[in-house]
Symmetry: C2
Subunit: 400 residues, 2 copies
Amino acid sequence: MVETTHLLLELFLIFAAAKVMGELFERLRQPAVIGEILAGVVLGPYVLAWVAPSQFTSGLAEIGVILLLFTVGLETKPRDLLQVGVLASSVATLGVVVPFITGWLVMRALGNSTLESVFTGTALVATSVGITARVMADMKILGTRVARVILAAAVIDDVLGMLLLAVVSSLSNGRTQIFSLTVVVLEAVAFIGLIVFWGSRVVGRMKPRLDTMAPHNSAFVLAMVACLGLSVAASFIGIAAIIGAFLAGLAIADHREAWAIEGKVQALGEFLVPFFFVVMGLQLNLKTLGDRRILGMALLIVVVAVLTKLIGCGLAALPMGPRDALRVGFGMVPRGEVGIIVALVGLQQGTISDAIYSVVLVMTVVTTLLSPLLLSFVFKGLSKDQASSPGAPSIGAKSL
Amino acid sequence: MVETTHLLLELFLIFAAAKVMGELFERLRQPAVIGEILAGVVLGPYVLAWVAPSQFTSGLAEIGVILLLFTVGLETKPRDLLQVGVLASSVATLGVVVPFITGWLVMRALGNSTLESVFTGTALVATSVGITARVMADMKILGTRVARVILAAAVIDDVLGMLLLAVVSSLSNGRTQIFSLTVVVLEAVAFIGLIVFWGSRVVGRMKPRLDTMAPHNSAFVLAMVACLGLSVAASFIGIAAIIGAFLAGLAIADHREAWAIEGKVQALGEFLVPFFFVVMGLQLNLKTLGDRRILGMALLIVVVAVLTKLIGCGLAALPMGPRDALRVGFGMVPRGEVGIIVALVGLQQGTISDAIYSVVLVMTVVTTLLSPLLLSFVFKGLSKDQASSPGAPSIGAKSL
């Protein structure tokens, strides 16, 4: 009973705080998502300490971000994504190479060991697309070319990041297993390729059979099974679960009128997505900001983190024109939890020190807090610049 | 990463198994909820052991049952509930007195101590309205008089059960605190009374102000805040959280056209309600069924549990006619987790033995597995017998 009361209290506090703070920030004409992240900071261990991160809160957060990317996938047709394939590939590649090498060289110049420097470079690589996806969904610009390039690049970025982490950790282990590495990457590429090229066709053939296969279940239920199933599959293969959820949405996108699931998915998102951003705030380790010894190195790495994605991805996106190239660059800046996971792997292997781990934490905290602000600024006017797909729903707000 | 993969896998298994088994049972013309409970049994520790009950699964289950009762509340207007108030009060009272005294006397006759007998009697009292609510929602009979009597009686039953447990545990403690007991009961009665009598009026005045108060948030968000908030409040006062959720729905029921939240709440329920029933199945301790020493006493108590609610509630409901009285009686039979909590209190106080605790567990397992079957049987034809409110949505199934 006490356990239940406690869980419900946390649930209530997280949801209510997210909506109140989101409302506040929207009134200040700022992205609601900043309000939600700050709600987590306020509820979390460094301010009020009313909610502690737990298996329950992180589970809800995971469901939230999966729903977010699933919704974003529903707004994105495979054809549109393939059309920007070449551009997105070069955005992703330069967005991996530039931060990795720059991070490595800067850390080496600061006197760190080669392995530590390489690990920090790796932690700078992986883009966490959650914040960007949310800001784009709220601004209703998912139908633009900029959004498509960012989303396609994020998928490729995730595979490259996984590959890089595997190589770097095997270097520090002293065991380079080229065969198993190749298998893992081929698995990931095959998984993504299959869904992007054939997913939509399979989904198209399913709907007519749905009524005879499972007359008592709805298209919504089937869609949720696909969303959860592909998230689990992606996670098993070694890429991010949210990439699986995005691909599930993508496969259904061409048939979303026939499936008629958008209203229901949106309702789920309106309830569950805020948990992701509040828990993101809960987990931000503000203590790292107080350690002056590492703050200097950390702020330098923050600058490196922002500039290298901006320059790497921006350069690759230059064919779109300077303004859109800047937007794509900023869209790839947020790092989120992926960098922390890389740093954690290094810490557990004994490759990097606590100080370097803290540097990565600070980098994550700062890019997480700044990104929504920067993004809403650079994306302003985007829907006027380009033809936006009509009726793209906002997630987590505005549906009175 | 591994932790996330694991959580997602459990999520996927629970949801997919619930829907597959639910589909199977609907095709066999049986309630989908049996399929969901059995899905939990199959996934659980005694069969496949693929999913272990955890803080995460029980948290999701709690959200699920809260949404279920909130939806049921939305279908129930306060006026309709008050109209059956006198009848429901006598149903609840006889439904508490008869099982308590019978359970006590039977256990005493079997040679148990007075305290153990009193505790077992108390464990037989509390109705767990989740299963009945779900079966009624799926059969679209929430608009009937039988459904109203059951729901109103369940609310009163919960308060009486709380009072009885408090008295019985203070007896075994040797500390009878009449003053604090009175305060607790008055709190509960005031909480329920305030919402039933004034909740609807408050909600009616809120809607016009909503647009100026929180222009960026939807009525749906406000409804979810109310649902979670009242669940937490109920839990703090000492009554079941689901009663708070039911009351929140009740307060909005008169204004559901203006608030237009039903589709969204239904979508949330379709995703989350199955978790409650699957986790119910996960947590059923089938081991207790294997212990022959206690199985005899347990089966006797199962018969007492079913018959006493049937007779107690049925007698009180006789003014409705014998057929509806039988329906009300069966509707109050499921015990669920409440009896286990009572037994656990007794176990922790050292008042009851492990054997008696197992007896209560068996009683819960058997009434949980049998109830949906019995209920769907006795409720058959109810919608024809009485005027059913049109458009009451089914929860968790059928919306293609």
